[in-house]
Structures are given as C-alpha cells and as structure tokens.
C-alpha cells in the first residue's frame, strides 16, 4: 500500500469531501494551495486574521444550509474565538430546540516539540471536552486522520479535529480507495495482556515504542488509541482494563482536569474494570506548566517513551 504523510492525509480528506459535497467551503487565514487551485477562491477563502469572525461566520453559514470547514491553524488562535465556540457553536443547536443543523468542521493543530514556547505549544482539548455540544477527534496516524476527518466533515454537528503538530510529517499507509472511520470507536494499536496503555496522538507512538521495550522485559502491553475524544469509546477502554487489570494513560497535555483524568474516571466507574484493577491507575502527562522554549526544558516537561515505560513498570510493581 502507498504511504502518505499525516498532513497530506488531512488534505486528501478535505479535497475528497469538497468534491463530494458542493455545500462545503473552506475558511482559513491562508488558503491551502492544493484546494485553492482545485475549487477556486469562492469556496476556498483566505480570510483576515480574525478567528472570532471566521468561527461565527461558520456557524451562520452552517445554519443557512452550508457545510463550512474552518482551519484555526494552531489551537492557540482558537482562544481568540472562544465566545463563538463556547457560547454559540456548542450551544446553538440545543438552545434553539434543534431547529436546524450546524455541520461545521474546525481543524486545529495541538501539542509541542516545535520549540515555539508556551503560546504555540498547547494541548487544551479537555477545555473543549468540558463543553456539551462539540464532538472532537485526535488522530494519531495518517490512516486515522483521513478516515476520521472525512467523517467529521459529513457529521451534522460542530466537530473539532485536533491534529498533532509533531505528527504532520509522519508517513503511514493510506489506501487509495474511499473509506471513513466512525466517530466514537477506539482502535487497539497493539494487543497485550498485562497492562493497558491508553495513549493520545503522538503518545500512541511513544507508547508503542515503550511496549517494545517492555516486551523484552517480559511485560505484554496493550495500546489503546481512543481516536475520538467526544464521543469517547469508554467500552473499548473498559474491556481492555477488565482484561489486563492495569491502566496507564499517556497524554501530551497536562494532567489537571485533562483527557487522561476523564479516561481514568470512565474506566474505573465500570464495576468490573474497577474490580479487575491490580494497581492504582497511572497518568503519564506533561508537567502542569506553560511549555518552555529551551529544548532542554521543553523535552523535560513532556512525557515520552521512557516516562511511559517507567509508568508501566510502576504499575507492574504495584500489583
């Protein structure tokens, strides 16, 4: 099978869906050249740097029968649009009694490792998970990116596609043929019996590397990738924990009120999963600090394969 990058997989999804549905159009502060060339400047608009207006305009256009796709670029810039995201996009379908649908895809990059310091290295998806009314994905591979993003664009609700900055150049197998991946279905990236590692985005790859190391130490690691943050596939996570009896959660975001905390709660609220636990649940997350610039400090604050491996060893020793 051919391989393409994570970034290219996203662009392919966009182009295919824009070809498929003439009500789609694209707003971003820079028009992506490939789709601009194919669909022209009416449907692929380069906008002023005014994320609040863009986001609100997507809401209005969606309520008027269109299917807008907005790229905020870095998630940092989404904060400029918070009123439109929190007060408008997330609530408008419910608040108006479901009169019309608001199919909107927001794309945005998250994470660190790019040496761009605190404002441009953030993983705040849990802030959005806390709102009712938004769906969101966090793909870890080119295959998942393409299949999930296509589903987002077809979804009749506002969906945020959080895309990992560190993975943009990652190559992976993506079939030429049409496919989609449903929202809310986790993917077991590696099967194992001794410990479950639920990992998000870049951390999936770090967890797989840690699993190789631990295999040599005689520990069988299962790596679960939720892929979708809302709705979260709690059942796949719980089933894995019921099997292994140990849970480590790896996330590039900080731990406080994070996706990792939510995953821990979802897993342990299940009586059978709780009863199966042989050790306390372990979170392997970034330190709870703004991300520093200096490479020495930035690498120190993020979780990686060594920290995940240490976390796995800790739960193995605990019981």
């Amino acid at each position: 099978m051919r391989t393409i990058s994570y970034a290219k997989a996203g662009m392919e999804a966009l182009a295919e869906e824009m070809r498929r549905d003439p009500t789609t159009f694209h707003l971003s502060t820079e028009a992506p050249p490939s789709i601009l060339e194919e669909f022209g400047p009416s449907r692929v608009r380069a906008t002023p740097i005014a994320e609040g207006a863009l986001t609100g305009m997507a809401v209005g256009a969606a309520g008027s029968g269109f299917r807008p796709i907005v790229n905020w670029s870095m998630v940092t810039f989404s904060f400029v649009a918070m009123d439109q995201i929190v007060n408008q996009a997330a609530k408008i379908h419910y608040m108006f009694g479901g009169q019309v649908r608001f199919p909107i895809t927001f794309r945005t990059s998250v994470g660190g490792g790019t040496r761009r310091a605190a404002q441009h290295s953030q993983s705040p998806y849990s802030m959005f998970m806390n709102l009712a009314g938004l769906k969101m994905i966090l793909p870890s591979t080119p295959y998942d990116m393409k299949g999930l993003l296509k589903t987002c664009i077809r979804d009749d609700n506002p969906v945020i596609s959080f895309e990992a900055d560190r993975l943009m150049d990652l190559e992976g197998e993506v079939p030429e043929e049409e496919y989609t991946i449903p929202l809310g279905v986790a993917d077991i990236k590696r099967e194992g019996n001794d410990v479950t590692v639920v990992a998000l985005a870049w951390q999936v790859h770090e967890a797989l590397a840690a699993a190789e190391t631990l295999e040599r130490e005689g520990v069988s690691v299962e790596v679960v990738d939720p892929r979708t943050l809302v709705p979260m596939d709690a059942e796949t996570i719980r089933a894995s924990v019921r099997k292994t009896g140990r849970l480590v959660i790896a996330d590039e975001a900080g731990p406080t009120c994070g996706a990792a905390a939510e995953i821990a709660a979802l897993a342990t609220e299940d009586a059978a999963a709780f009863a199966a636990l042989k050790a306390p649940v372990k979170r392997v997350c970034a330190l709870q600090v703004p991300i520093p610039y200096s490479p020495a400090l930035e690498d120190y604050v993020f979780p990686d394969r060594e920290k995940i491996a240490a976390g796995i060893r800790a739960v193995m020793e605990a019981g």
């Binding site: 159009f25 009416s42 449907r43 608009r45 906008t47 002023p48 005014a50 609040g52 207006a53 863009l54 986001t55 609100g56 305009m57 997507a58 809401v59 209005g60 256009a61 969606a62 309520g63 008027s64 029968g65 269109f66 807008p68 009123d83 439109q84 007060n87 408008q88 408008i92 379908h93 419910y94 608040m95 108006f96 009694g97 479901g98 009169q99 019309v100 649908r101 608001f102 009712a132 009314g133 769906k135 009749d156 609700n157």
Partner: protein, 329 residues
C-alpha cells in the same frame, strides 16, 4: 418610495403587536409566570418593523438579547414565542431557550443572542451563504450602540466590506449600553461614522420614524442585492424601560431624558398613527381602536396557548445536544 397605505397599516399593526407583547411579557414576568430575564423592546419598534418591511421572508436577520421585536417584525408566531417565554414544550426552542434565545430559522430569524455583538459574525456567515448561493438574498444584523464598541462588530463589517457581502448592519443606538452612556463610550458622535473606516456607506436615520427606517433599509437592500456590499445604518432611538425587567436592574438614566423620549411626539407608534390620519384621512380612531383590540386579542390568545401547553418532559433535557442523537445521562 412611500409604502402603500395597506403596507403602512401592516407596519403599524406589527409595531403595536410588539408593544402589546412586551407589555404582557413584562406583566407576566413580574407575576412570576415568565422566568429569568425579559428585555423589553418598547420604544424601538420602528427599527425592527421598518427594516423587516424592506426585506423578504427568505432574507435572514439576527437579533440581540432584546429580541422579541425582531421576531415579531420578521413574522414569528406569537403563540410559539409566548410559549417559549413560559418555558413550555410548544415554544420555539421547546422551552430550552427562553426570552433571550428565540429563533425561527424557517422565517430567516437566526435567533436572539445573549452575548453583546455575538450574533454579528453569525449573521455575516449567513450573508456569506447568501453570496455563495447567488440567489440575491440579503442578511441583516441588528445590534446596539454597545456592540459597535466590540471586536466582533469590527471584524465582521471589515470582512463583509472586503468581500462585498449582501449585508445590512443596523445599529439601534438607544443611547445606553445597559447603564453605560454612548456619549462616554462611543468614540464618534454617530456610530454610522464608523462605516468610513471600512469604505462602506454609513447612514444616520431617525429610528423612531418607521417610514424613514424603511426607506434607508430599502436603499441598503438594493445595494446589497446588486452585489455592492454592506451598509451601516444607525437608527437613533430610545428604550422606554430599564435594561431588563429584573427587580435588581438599576436604571441610572436621567429622568428628564426618559421623559423627553417617552413622549407622544417621539413615540414611533403615535407618530405613524398621526401620519396615517393626517396624510390619508382614512384612518379613523375607530379603526385604530379596532386594530389595537385585535392585537390585544392575539396576545391574550398567545398567553392562553402558552398556559395550556405542558412543560417539556424531563427526558427532553437530553435531546438535541447533537443533531439526531441523545446525550448520555
């Protein structure tokens, strides 16, 4: 172009409907039958009615926290409006929105909105949709003097001007943003002057003269439909009541200012009644009284409809978080 006598009477009927609706909504709010908050539109009726008379049913508008007037002017159903205020299942939002969130997408009313300036980008997106569609529809943003000081106003009007979106930006300058006076907070004497910064026409109009508002809106609509882009219309008007009906809502506006505006000579409804009587000589006191009786009956009927309607079933709380799905309890 002067609207026909029939059209003028229809404008009068709509203005009086707004006024009677607001009187009843505030009464029923104070009686405890309507909850949370009610923002009355009394005094500003000519703006919503004058503008909506200049557009079509499939043109779109967006409102503010003070939204009842725009709903009625765009043709919303009084029963479903009142039922929404009463929190009933038969309301426009099935009881989930209340006074500040009434919408009727079927008639192009994209909703009242609880955030000052929050609706301006949304309706600008409706303007973009109209442009993409290419069928000559227009979109209208209603907002206040307070919103004209906020970022979303400037971001949206800039994009609309740059892209020549078929938009009307209608500022209802009622001189006060809650209790902040426009004279101390708006950097220019007329909000309409701000249009110059975006290279679009800015028009000041007597917002209590429904025919003047209508005329200004007609010209802006024509320009928008022709593909020449947006117009900023500033309607000078005044709200007769406090910002909201809530008991703890202060009103620091000077008594003499209130008295000067809440006067028969400035009342948009009394002015149109007088014009109809003077100019056509065919509109009698009896006809005006009969029109008012019909309006009051329609409001009474809407209250009866609301009271006869059930509250939403509890399981409805989980419905419509997402389209065609239920949230998990």
């Amino acid at each position: 172009m002067q609207p026909s006598p029939e059209k003028q009477r229809e404008m009068l009927r709509l203005m009086q409907t707004i006024r009677r609706f607001e009187e009843r909504a505030s009464d029923d709010f104070h009686a405890g039958d309507i909850y949370g908050v009610v923002h009355c539109y009394i005094g500003q009726e000519a703006v919503a009615v004058g503008v909506c008379a200049a557009i079509n049913r499939d043109d779109q508008i967006i409102s503010t926290h003070r939204g009842h007037g725009h709903c009625i002017a765009k043709g919303a159903d009084l029963n479903r409006m009142m039922a929404e205020l009463y929190g009933r299942e038969t309301g426009y939002c099935k009881g989930k929105g209340g006074s500040m969130h009434i919408a009727d997408f079927g008639i192009g009313m994209l909703g009242a909105n609880g955030i000052v300036a929050g609706g301006i980008p949304i309706v600008t997106g409706a303007g973009l949709a109209a442009q993409l569609e290419g069928k000559g529809r227009v979109a209208v943003s209603f907002f206040g003097d307070g919103a004209s000081n906020a970022g979303p106003f400037h971001e949206s009007i800039n994009i609309a001007a740059a892209w020549k979106l078929p938009m009307l930006y209608v500022c209802e300058n009622n001189l006060w943003a809650v209790n902040t006076p426009a004279r101390d907070s708006v950097s220019v004497p007329d909000v309409a002057q701000r249009a110059a910064g975006y290279g679009i026409p800015g028009v000041v109009v007597d917002g209590n003269d429904v025919l003047a508002v209508y005329q200004a809106a007609l010209e802006a609509v024509e320009r928008a439909r022709a593909g020449d882009g947006p117009t900023l219309i500033e309607c000078k008007t005044y709200r007769w009541r406090r910002h909201t009906e809530r008991a703890n809502q202060r009103d620091i506006r000077p008594a003499d200012e209130i008295a000067a505006w809440c006067d028969e000579n400035r009342d948009p409804i009394a002015r149109l009644v007088k014009q109809l009587k003077d100019q056509q000589g065919q509109f009698s006191d009896e006809e005006w009284q009969a029109m008012d009786r019909e309006v009051v009956k329609a409001i009474d009927d809407s209250v009866a409809f609301a009271k006869a309607s059930p509250f939403p079933p509890l399981e409805a709380a989980l419905v419509d978080v997402f389209a065609e799905e239920r949230a998990h309890a």
